[in-house]
């Protein structure tokens, strides 16, 4: 199918479903929604789940490919699409479905951004612990589709742990829901788990309900520095074995720190762990005492403390770190690593070596106490490295992982994508996953060609 102009028939039908104001057909405007250089034939913004259903039914009937889209913060993930016929935007599905602060739950449309959710609940001193990168753009639906997370994952778990209900539309136009708006529910299959992290290959999420939490009244961040990775891991294990229960426990590699500081020439080679604690003065004092009495390696610097606006800024930067990587070097590759705790050290060591061997700088941040990290391979030279370098670096990293670990390349140059699978291997049975996909979308109308299989 042509990637430039939409056929008149397609446009007419989309317009009849959603109204002319909500269909984009202009090739120039559509270019900003290109995915791996594939420009959609049309973009459409349904105003209701029923309109989403009508668009999907239409697409299903005519066998055209639909790509659901939120704020485009994670749309770079996936194999290169064969075609994007309809970009289905969720930007008009933003209504609050339910929110009573006393219930500690909120239900909201998939197109609402994480920042919008925060603006709704923050006045009640509440928190949705979904601190994915670029919250002003990242939507609720997108964050669910890619199972996005940020530093708060350490204490609150992933979005699978606090999403209690979901509303979605299937390719044959069924308006369906699962779960509920209450915090505890075991009626029916847990379709939330299936849709979370399915990268828009099963159904279009139109809304979801979440647990929210009381926001801490006061926090402090302790920054500990170490000469090397083994010391970092030892410190992590010490924290995990202690009675302390920090909100965040975040690894920052030496080069990641330089990117955060916006100073890539800095010659500070230490690894850092950022430990964010919440609580009263007495609780924070306890953290201080514990950290001071632990026998840290001689090379470790005593933990520094930050608070107030500096602390808020620091965490904002850590959360948006993936963005900083591409600001610094747009030809970088960003890898999401999920692995058992004790596999972190060998994996990072292998990644560092793989970077050196293939002329990349290596950087990492992440939830070191939860086994969820983000790695970046940044080109050293201004010229884009050969595609094989990316492929080699990623396979060297994957080769060092245990079989239940995953290394998904979230973003990398288009040329490199042609040379390896961005998804890598999976510990989940492929036959079972295929059966599920076929049960939802046998013809792969949704995100055709982009997923693992």
């Amino acid at each position: 199918m042509s990637a430039s102009a939409a056929s008149p028939g397609l446009l007419r039908d989309l317009t009849s479903i959603c109204g002319g104001d909500h269909v984009i057909e202009d090739a120039l405007k559509l270019r900003r929604y290109a995915i791996d250089d594939v420009v959609p034939r049309a973009a459409v913004s349904p105003g209701t789940p029923a309109e989403v259903a009508a668009v999907l039914k239409f697409a299903h009937h005519h066998d055209v490919v639909v790509v659901p889209a939120g704020g485009f913060t994670h749309q770079g993930t996936g194999a290169i699409p064969d075609a994007v016929d309809i970009l289905l935007r969720t930007d008009r599905l933003t209504a609050v479905e339910h929110y009573d602060p006393g219930d500690l739950t909120i239900g909201i449309g998939a197109g609402a951004t994480l920042a919008e959710v925060e603006r709704i609940i923050a006045p009640n001193r509440q928190l949705l612990p979904l601190d994915a990168p670029l919250p002003e753009s990242c939507t609720v639906g997108g964050a669910l589709a890619v199972a996005a997370h940020g530093p708060l994952k350490h204490a609150y778990g992933g979005v699978r742990d606090f999403c209690t209900g979901i509303r979605y539309v299937t390719v044959d136009g069924k308006l369906a829901k699962a779960g509920a708006r209450v915090v505890k529910n075991v009626a029916g299959y847990d379709m939330m788990k299936l849709l979370i992290g399915s990268f828009g290959t099963l159904a279009v999420i139109t809304g979801a309900s979440f647990k929210v939490y009381p926001a801490p009244r006061q926090t402090r961040t302790f920054i500990a520095s170490f000469a090397g990775l083994p010391e970092v891991v030892r410190f992590r294990d010490q924290v995990l074995a202690s009675p302390l229960s920090p909100m965040c426990l975040e690894l920052v590699s030496p080069h990641a720190h330089r990117l955060l500081a916006g100073d890539s020439n800095q010659d500070d080679d230490s690894w850092r762990v950022l430990l964010r604690a919440a609580g009263s003065d007495a609780v924070l004092a306890r953290y201080r005492t514990e950290l001071a009495t632990w026998r840290l390696p001689p090379s470790a610097a005593a933990a520094r403390e930050v608070s107030g606006e500096v602390e808020t800024q620091l965490w904002r930067h850590v959360g948006n770190w993936p963005h900083a990587v591409f600001e610094a070097a747009r030809n970088s590759a960003l890898v999401r690593l999920d692995l058992p705790l004790q596999a972190v050290e060998p994996a990072l060591a292998a990644a560092e070596q793989a970077a050196t061997d293939n002329d990349f700088l290596f950087a990492a941040v992440g939830r070191i106490g939860a086994g969820s990290l983000l790695l970046a391979f940044l080109p050293i030279t201004p010229d884009p490295p050969a595609a094989m370098h990316y492929a080699n670096a990623v396979s060297a990293l994957r080769g060092a992982l245990p079989r239940d670990a995953s290394a998904i390349v979230l973003r990398c140059p288009l040329e490199a994508k042609r040379h390896f699978s961005v998804w890598g291997s999976t510990p989940n049975d492929l036959g079972a996953m295929r059966a599920i996909r076929d049960a939802f979308d046998e013809r792969h109308i949704l995100n055709r060609g982009r997923f693992l299989f």
């Binding site: 505890k184 009626a187 029916g188 995990l240 609780v283 049975d429 036959g431 996953m433 599920i436 049960a439």
Partner: protein, 475 residues
């Protein structure tokens, strides 16, 4: 049937197949009142054996129902169509304890509390704590996505499972997840937990171990009225206080419990809250102070504190044996498991009082107030058909009301064969149709746990089977 038994004895040990009526009768029940006599009961020892039995069941067209300790409350482990029950009492090994990764790998027959005891030396435990945890198996907890009082803070079973080995209904042995918290691809583990044995048979479970908190404080707040207690629950939320457990008992239930267990509950109060706090010493101390202050403002008559582990256990004993205590008063009882948004608790309790009056049935209230999971317990005499009918109607009316105010029909007991006909209260035909597609992707012929979870299609609804209220133990 004896040929089938013979074939099974070739796969399993000869003493691992029961087919005499007096033997299989023991597997008619779970902790509810639903019953169903299986034709055969088998006791596999390995995953391979499970797979072979599943293949055989397919060939022979006989259904198969996995069963742990039989403590379920929704009939999930009952052979509804006189098929085969597969019991996991011979697969109860802890395969691996991996404290450095905060994980353990267990067979499905491992008892919940035994795992926590096995890892206690590392300062770790398995957080899900259904009231049945002394006997219920982790395989059963996984199938039902069991909760418990501490689910309020630590989540239900699904939040603690990272990987499964499963025998699918076609006999294939598959892996999902592992020790990592997340993985590439669909979250099959999350889907299978809580699928009530309708998608596959779990044969190994990789789970998270949680660190035992440094300090714990258990408070008993005593109120003159249910309203004051219910308002306290909301006031605690408004103050941002996060107990790890927050349980409520009404005054009438309380007196039954006290007579049975001598837990030290006051005999003359309107309601009590059992409030538990955990964490750093400093944080627990402060929160306990804040809880006392909130209770005082909400007219608590008194707030008692468990001074030591013994007193703490006594307070919990009263709560965990609450349903059994009611059993002393009534020949049968029907425990509901509805959930409502927290702000709706006071109004829903009044509604339940109205239902009690309307149907002329005594209803006790024991529940997880912190997360809105109500367990109204309807007392009735099973020998009186009219009472049985009224109980059934009252239960349905309560659950319908729970859904009406934004809640659900089951928070932790599961749907099984007890509430499958109530699913349409909560879900539309389309909601259920999509779930059915997932079911059929794995279990198209219904060889595994048939006639559960989904409402019976209108066309083939049995006329001779009246679904009866379940009762018995409780959470």
């Amino acid at each position: 049937m004896s040929t089938l038994a013979k074939q099974l004895r070739r796969i399993l040990a000869s003493d691992a197949v029961l087919d005499r009526p007096e033997d299989v009768m023991l597997y008619e029940y779970d902790a509810g009142l639903s019953t169903g006599t299986p034709a055969l009961v088998v006791f596999p020892e390995t995953t391979q054996q499970v797979s072979q039995v599943v293949r055989l069941a397919n060939q022979q067209g006989i259904s198969l129902v996995p069963r742990g300790a039989g403590t379920g409350l929704s009939g999930g482990a009952i052979a509804r169509d006189a098929g085969m029950v597969m019991v996991f009492s011979r697969m109860r090994r802890i395969l691996e304890i991996d404290p450095a990764n905060q994980r353990a790998v267990v067979q499905p027959g491992v008892v919940n509390l035994e795992l926590s005891q096995a890892v206690a030396g590392y300062g770790l435990y398995f957080a899900p704590d259904p009231a049945s945890q002394r006997v219920s198996t982790i395989g059963g907890n996984v199938a039902e996505n069991s909760g418990g009082p501490h689910a309020l803070a630590y989540g239900a079973t699904v939040n603690h499972i990272t990987g499964l080995e499963v025998v699918l209904p076609d006999g294939r042995i598959v892996e999902m997840g592992g020790k990592a918290g997340d993985s590439c691809g669909y979250d099959l583990t999350g889907l299978f937990v809580g699928s009530e044995g309708t998608l596959g048979i779990v044969t190994a479970i990789t789970l998270k171990l949680t660190r035992v908190a440094e300090a714990v404080e258990t408070l008993l707040a005593i109120f003159h009225s249910m309203d004051d207690a219910a308002n306290t629950v909301m006031a605690l939320t408004a103050e941002g206080i996060t107990p790890v457990a927050l349980e409520m008992l009404d005054g009438w239930t309380l007196r039954c419990v006290e007579e049975a267990t001598h837990a030290g509950y006051p005999m003359d109060s309107g309601a009590v809250l059992l409030i538990e706090l955990e964490g750093l010493r400093e944080a627990v101390g402060e929160q306990a102070g804040a809880v006392r202050e909130v209770c005082r403002r909400q007219n608590a008559r008194e707030v008692r504190r468990a001074a030591n582990q013994q007193e703490r256990q006594l307070l919990w004993k009263g709560r965990k044996n609450a349903f059994a205590s009611l059993g002393r008063l009534s020949p049968a009882y029907y425990t509901q498991d509805g959930v409502v948004p927290r702000t709706k608790i006071p109004a829903v309790l009044q509604f339940i009082a109205g239902v009690s009056k309307k149907y002329g049935l005594r209803i006790g209230n024991i529940f997880h107030a912190g997360d809105g999971n109500l367990h109204p317990c309807i007392l009735f005499d099973i020998r009186d058909p009219d009472q049985v009918r009224r109980t059934h109607e009252a239960g349905r009316e309560i659950l319908q009301h729970c859904v009406g105010v934004g809640g659900t029909i089951t928070g932790e007991h599961g749907v099984g064969m007890e509430k499958n006909e109530l699913m349409p209260i909560l879900f539309t035909d389309d909601d259920l149709a999509v779930m059915k597609r997932v079911h059929d992707a794995f279990n198209p012929r219904g060889v595994l746990n048939p006639h559960k979870l989904f409402p019976t299609p209108r066309s083939c609804r049995e006329t001779n089977v009246v679904s009866r209220p379940a009762g018995g133990g409780g959470i």
